[in-house]
Amino acid sequence: VTRIRKSATLVLAGASCLSLVAACGSSSGSSATSTSSAPTTSSAPATSAAAATSAATSAPAPAASASGSAPSVAPSSAAALAPASITVAIDSGLQPDAKKAIDTQITQFEAKYPTIKAKTVEYTWTGTTFAAKLAGGTLPTVFTVPFTDGRGLIARKQVADVSAEIAKLPYGAKFNPSVAVEGEDASGKLEAVPISAYGQALHYNRDLFTKAGLDPNKPPTTWDELRADAKAISDKTGMAGYAVMTQSNTGGWILTTEAYAMGGRMETMNGTKATAAVNNPQTKQVLKLLHDMRWTDKSMGSNFIYDWNGINQAFAAGKIGMYITGGGTYTNLVTQNKIDPKTYGEGVIPLSGTNSGALGGGTVAMVSVKASAAQQAAAVKWIDFYYMAKLTTQAGAALDAKTNADNKQPVGAPQLPVFDKATYDEQQGWIKQWVNVPLAQMKPYTDAAAAQPLIPEPGVATQDLYAALDPVVQAVLTNKNANVDSLLSAANQKAQTAIGKAS
C-alpha cells in the first residue's frame, strides 16, 4: 500500500511538473485533438408543414415590381433535400436592427427549405485568427474568406468540395472569369462561391471636411491634395486627417494599395514563380509620405494600432478624416458601427505614375470541411439564398432589398460585379426603389471608379506578405527615425521565405 501511495505521489508530482510543459504545448496540442472532435450534429428539424406555411406567409412578400417571378419564400421543391442543421456566418458585432434583418432572412430561408435549420454564428475573417478557428474546428458550416485565401484553402483540401452542388446553380458558369478563378481548384472546378468583389476606395468624413473649410463634395484626387486636406482637418479639428490600418495583416494590405496607387508592385511574376518585391521605389515613396504626414504635418492622429474593425469604428465615431478600405464598406459602417449617414463621403484613391491602379479583391463563401453531405447541400442552398439570389434573380434581389430596407439596413452600397456589368446594372435596377444609402455622397467614387485600372492582390503568400509589412508601417508611424531601407529589406526577406514555402 505504501508503495502504491508513493507511486500515486510520484504520479501527482510528475503531473504537476509536466503541466508546465502542457502550458506551452496545449495551444497546439489541444488544437490537434479538437480537429478530430465530432462535427456539428445534424438533427432532423421537426418543422411541420403548417409551421412552414405560416412562416412563409408572415415573411415580407416581395414587392409588386418583382412580379413575374415566384416569391422566394414559398417552400420550394426542396422535399428531396435531406434534413440538416447548419451554422452560418454573420458579421460580428451587428447592430440590433441588422441582427433583426438577418433573423428575418433566416426565417425566410427555413420557410423555403423546411428540412433545413440554420443558426447564425458571429464571424469576421481576420488574418491572425482564421487559422486558429480552422484548426480548432470552430468555423461555422458556411463562412467567408478573402480572395487571397480561397485557392490556398481549396488546394490544401481544408474546405469541403461542394463543386457538384455549385454546378447545379443556374449561374454556376456565368461568373466573371477573373472572379471565378478565386473559388476554383487547380483544374478549374468551382469549389467555393465568389460572393462579392471590391475595389479600394477613399472614405472620408464630410463633417470634418466642412469643419476644416474643405469642400465635402470634392475629396482629394492627388496625393498632394490628400496630404494638404489631412493637414487642414488635423489643424482645424484636432482629429486625425488621414489614418491607415497597421495590424493583423491590414497594414500590409493598405501599404500595398498605396504602392499600387503610385504604380508599384509587391511581387514580380516570372511564369508561375513569384519573387517578393516590397522593397520598391513606390513603397518607399508611400512610406516617406506617411512619415512626413505623421511627423512633419502631425496629421495622422495619435492612434497607430488599427485593424479593419478598429479603424471602421474610429471612422464611424468621427475621429478620422480620411482612410482607405474596400469600396462597399459603407454597409459595415452602418450595420456594425452605426455611422451617421450624413457624415459619410466616398471618393476614389488618388493615382499617380505609370501602371498605377486601385487594388481589387473580394470575398468567397466556403463550406466547412467537417460538414456532412446533407449539410454541404444545405450550406450551398444558404449561399445561394443569402449571398447570390440578390445578385441573380429579381425576386431574390427584391426580397433582400425589402427585408434590409424594412429593418433600416443599408441597400445599394457600391460593389464591383461578380458576374458581368450587364447583370450588375440589371440588379441595381431591381432594387432601385429600396436603395437608401446616400448615393449622392458616394458620387465622387461611383463616377470615377470604373475608369481606374483594377489590380489584383499579390498572387502568392499574399497574407504572409501583408503580415511582413505590418511592422514596417507601424515603425514609420511610431518611430521618427525608423530606417525604412532596413525595415523593407527585412520585410522582403520574410515575404520571400513565405513565398518559397507556399510555392
Binding site: V1, L20, V21, C24, S30, A131, A135, Q463, N479, A482
Partner: protein, 315 residues
C-alpha cells in the same frame, strides 16, 4: 514547505520484499488502481497526451490536415534562425524584469498594509481581488480605452490635470511594454495579495509582542518579523511570477498584436504566430518546437532556482 519530505536519517531502512500479484491484489492493490484511474485518464488525456503530441509535432512538418512527415530538428533550426527570436526573447525578458521590479513588491506591500488595517479589511481585500475576477479580455479592452493616446484619453486627461502628457502609451515602441506591465500588475496583484494575507495570519502574534517589548518600530517589526516569516511564500510567489511572466500572451496579443514594430512581440505570441498567425500555412512544427524550448528553459530555470534558494527556504 514540502511537508511530505522527511529527513533521510529518520527514514526506516526497508528491504525490497518480493510480493506475488495475489498478495498485492489482496492488500487492496486493485482498489488503489481503480481510485487512481480517473486521475490517470484525465491527466493522460488532457495533460500527457498533448505534451507527448507536442514533442512529436516539434519533430514533424504538419498542418493538421495533410499527413505529417518527420523533419528531424528542422523546426528547431527554423526557430533558432528566425530573426524575430532575439527580439521576442528580449521583449519577454524585459516584461519579466519590469513585472519583477514593479509587480512583485506591490502585492506584498498591499498585503502588509491590509493586515495592519483593523477596519474595512474585507472591503480592501475585495477591492484588491476584483481585477482578478474580471475576465482578462474585458480588462484589456477597458485599459485599451484608458490608454487612448489622444489628449482626451482617460489617462492622458488625468495626467493633463497635473500638467503632464499627453503620453503615447501603447502607440510607441518605448512605452508600449511598460503599459502592458502596468495593466498586468493591476490584473494579477489581487491573487498574490490573498496568498500573502493568508500567510500573514500564520505569523505568531507573540513574535510581534516580543519585538515590541524590544522596542521595535512598525518598520522594524515588518523587516525583522513579517518578512522572515513570509520568506517561504515569497520564494514560491517569485518563481510563479517569473514562470507566468515568461509566458505572457493575453496582454500583447490583445493590446498591440506584438506591435508597434514588434516592440511587444513575446515568446508566446511568437508561438501563436507560428501556428496561427498565417491564415493559410500554419507552421505547427515550429510552434511546438519553440514551446518545447520554452518549457525546457523554464524547467531548467525552476530547478536552478530551487537549488540556489534551498538554503533560504523555510522547509
Amino acid at each position: 514547505m514540502t511537508i511530505l519530505e522527511r529527513p533521510a536519517a529518520v527514514q526506516p531502512v526497508r528491504r525490497r520484499r518480493h510480493r506475488s500479484p495475489v498478495t498485492w491484489a489482496r492488500r487492496g492493490g486493485i482498489s488503489n488502481i481503480v481510485f487512481l484511474l480517473p486521475l490517470l485518464v484525465i491527466f493522460g488525456l488532457f495533460s500527457w497526451f498533448p505534451i507527448v503530441r507536442a514533442l512529436v509535432m516539434s519533430l514533424q512538418q504538419t498542418n493538421l490536415v495533410s499527413p505529417a512527415h518527420w523533419v528531424g530538428l528542422d523546426n528547431f533550426s527554423t526557430v533558432f534562425n528566425d530573426p524575430e527570436l532575439p527580439t521576442a526573447l528580449r521583449n519577454t525578458g524585459y516584461f519579466a524584469l519590469l513585472a519583477l521590479v514593479f509587480g512583485y513588491p506591490l502585492p506584498l506591500i498591499l498585503a502588509v498594509l491590509m493586515s495592519e488595517v483593523r477596519r474595512w479589511r474585507g472591503v480592501f481585500t475585495a477591492l484588491a481581488y476584483i481585477p482578478v475576477v474580471v475576465p482578462p479580455v474585458v480588462s484589456v479592452l477597458l485599459w485599451k480605452f484608458f490608454y487612448d493616446a489622444s489628449s482626451t484619453g482617460v489617462f492622458n486627461t488625468v495626467a493633463g490635470w497635473v500638467g503632464l502628457g499627453p503620453y503615447p502609451w501603447l502607440q510607441s515602441a518605448s512605452s508600449a511594454m511598460p503599459s502592458l506591465v502596468l495593466e498586468a500588475t493591476w490584473a494579477a496583484a489581487g491573487g498574490t495579495v490573498i496568498i500573502y494575507l493568508a500567510a500573514l495570519t500564520g505569523v505568531a502574534p507573540e513574535l510581534y509582542d516580543a519585538a515590541e517589548v524590544d522596542g521595535a518600530s512598525i518598520w522594524g517589526k515588518i523587516w525583522h518579523v513579517t518578512m522572515p516569516q513570509l520568506r517561504g511564500v515569497m520564494l514560491i510567489t517569485l518563481i510563479l511570477q517569473l514562470i507566468g511572466t515568461a509566458q505572457v500572451f493575453v496582454e500583447p496579443y490583445l493590446f498591440t498584436g506584438g506591435g508597434p514594430n514588434n516592440a511587444t512581440l513575446t515568446l508566446l505570441l511568437m508561438i501563436y504566430n507560428y501556428a496561427f498567425g498565417s491564415s493559410l500555412s500554419g507552421d505547427f512544427g515550429a510552434a511546438t518546437a519553440l514551446s518545447v524550448l520554452l518549457a525546457v528553459g523554464l524547467g531548467l530555470f525552476s530547478a536552478l532556482y530551487f537549488r540556489l534558494t534551498r538554503s533560504w527556504s523555510t522547509s
